[in-house]
Amino acid sequence: MSNLWQTFIERRGDLLVALGQHIQISLVALVIAVVIALPLAVFSLGHKRLANVLLQLTGILQTIPSLALLGLLIPFVGIGTTPAIIALVVYALLPIFQNTYVGLSEIDPAFEEAAEAFGMTRFQKLRKVELPLALPVIMGGIRTATVLIIGTATLAALIGGGGLGTFIMSGINRNDTTLTLLGALASAALALVFSAGLALIQKVRFRWVVTGLVTLGVIGGGVWSYQALRPQPETITIAGKLGSEPEVLINMYKLLIEDGSDNVDVVLKPNFGQTSFLFDALKSGKIDLYPEFTGTVVTSLVKPSAKQTAAINHGADSYPIANSLLKQQGLTLLKPMKYNNTYALVVRQSTAKQYGLKTISDLNKLPNGTAGFDLEFSGRADGYAGIKQQYGLNLKVNSLDASLRYQALSQNHVEVTDGYSTDSQIAQYKLLALQDPKHVFATYRGAPMMKASWAKQHPAIIKRLNRLAGKISETDMQQMNYDVNVKKQSAASVAKHYLTTHHLLEAQK
């Protein structure tokens, strides 16, 4: 309990901001839901079939799980408050529509007849008779909707919408119950206050309702202008390709970006898809940056000249070429990390020790070299065919499916296999990736890629991201992939661990 109080005191500033966001999201959603559901209910009053269809429809909408609804909305409206508000409106429609419809249709027909006989127009009848008489039932629906909205609005935090959910989510994330409890209690209290407030509105005179609304407007305006004056958190969206390695990298980017006083809100989209998909998303501004590799840039994303290709094939650094060609497309690739994620010939560490293997040419020292290669690798010019020629190897080659290579190697069926230099299995099975001094394999060095204009606008962030330049060896990356894939640690904690142990975060200095 004292723990809760202490957390409350410490975080009260954040809590107030989250509360303000929560109220804002909830009120906006509530107002929109009323504006949609109320006229719809009024309109369907004379059309029983339409009313039934709408009741069914709003009912079905409400059964969509909120997480699924948010997920479905992201492709259309992105992330942030917009999809959150849309989802909340969808949930609030049923209670408001249903109660308005029921309230209006249960009015004593004598009142309808009187209004009719006194020569009221449809609108006068609605305003002077029907709505006031149905008001208690309508308000009941609005109250139900309000409680529902305030409760569900905690999910907005999942998609960067802010609000009290941020406390709940970060509490769950960090296994900090007090944070979760704080967010949940605040949200429950808010629901109670709103519900009681609406109940009060029903009882007091119209004049007081107007006074109340004006007061609420003033408070709302105050909160709004406070938020407007306060530096708005900028949302930075980072995506990554499929797999553990990009996920660890984007988590590092996030930690580095947030490792400063800048008021930013970093959203991660791991396992976002294939290269072309990410590249399009970056160019269209849907995401702000993603980790890309120099080799991929020069082979798939830009068109190097014949001269440049030749230079790369002779072992020239592909980074400056990739970067200069990206610049023509308005993009930039920051300075790459140390490790090279490329094809590698892999042997057991025991074998390497026994025969003193370090580079690919050392493979000639093997008395009976049997290799198990993926079919594609065996045939490629930048695969075994090139290696054989450049290093003068003479291995006995078996074709092996990619998924079986490491198993075959670790169980001594073959002495050499192909792989990628940062594969977690290299750490897992105590293997070694041999060096390629003749640069037969293209270099694939990773770095954050972004629009050049974005980089120009965020010099401080670029500086922090560049702390990774020249960092992370193949072994480091293998270990981190191993931690995520095999030891099932979260990419976020693995990323954080690396940055802290290598003193790359400002906070610990």
Partner: protein, 312 residues
Amino acid sequence: MSELIAFDHVTKTYASGDAVQDLNLKIHTGELFVLVGESGSGKTTTLKMINRLIAPTSGTIQFKGQDITSYPIRELRWQIGYVLQQIALFPNMTVGQNIALIPELRHMPKAEVTNRVDELLDSVGLPPEQYRNRFPKALSGGEQQRVGILRAFANKPPVVLMDEPFSALDPLSRNQLQELVLDLHQRLNMTIVFVTHDMNEAMRLGDRIAVMRDGQLVQCDTPQAIAKSPATDWVAEFFAGTKARLMEAPLRKLTAFATPDTAPNRPLTSPDALLKSILPVIAQGEKVTIQTDSGKFKIDAQAVLNFLAANA
């Protein structure tokens, strides 16, 4: 006498059959016209066709010599006041707002509306300063219908329709409100079309009475003419039955007209005894005391006369 409303071969058919069958009827300007009949006789349907709450299946209805469908509907309804059996004062409006409703719909200046409301409340014995700002639910049934009538008269329409307005009220209130209707009719010199199932009420109020049965008009004449020469046996029975029934009323029905009896030890008569059984005693100037749930009451000749007057 000019005719204000005329039904010409009007029929209203529902899925269950004819509610009104080939009705021909003329209502004159300035008369208090009563439509009487049992439930299901078509009297209310007839009434509601006048202000177009119900549309006839065939035939035409004329108002001021013109087909009612030729008027803009709101213009027509503003000329026809309406009092409902359910009273239907809007519970979200005060007494004053209920009465002011139609004048305000017609954009009468606010000061004038306020004056009109106060004047009307005053005229029916409801002090404006005391009643104007009350809500209907704070009023007794009789007071509510008084306001219901004022609401219909506020706009000074040439005709007011009343649909069994007093059937839900206690006998005393009903008596007082019948007085009020007669008084207003005389004072304002307007046309009233009044629907009731109570022949006594019809006889008491009507300048002319239209007796309806099974959707058809059976007889339409002055109360005296109907009493003297009923058109059919059924009319005679309907007319006489009420008289006979009046004498068969149990004494408890006279409670409203009796005075509380505070004297002790007076012999009690059962409240279930019939009126005719005590008439010989009353005729000798004696009083009869009954014990009811709400106390002891004495019934004298005046109480019996008041009861008969209210129901005859």
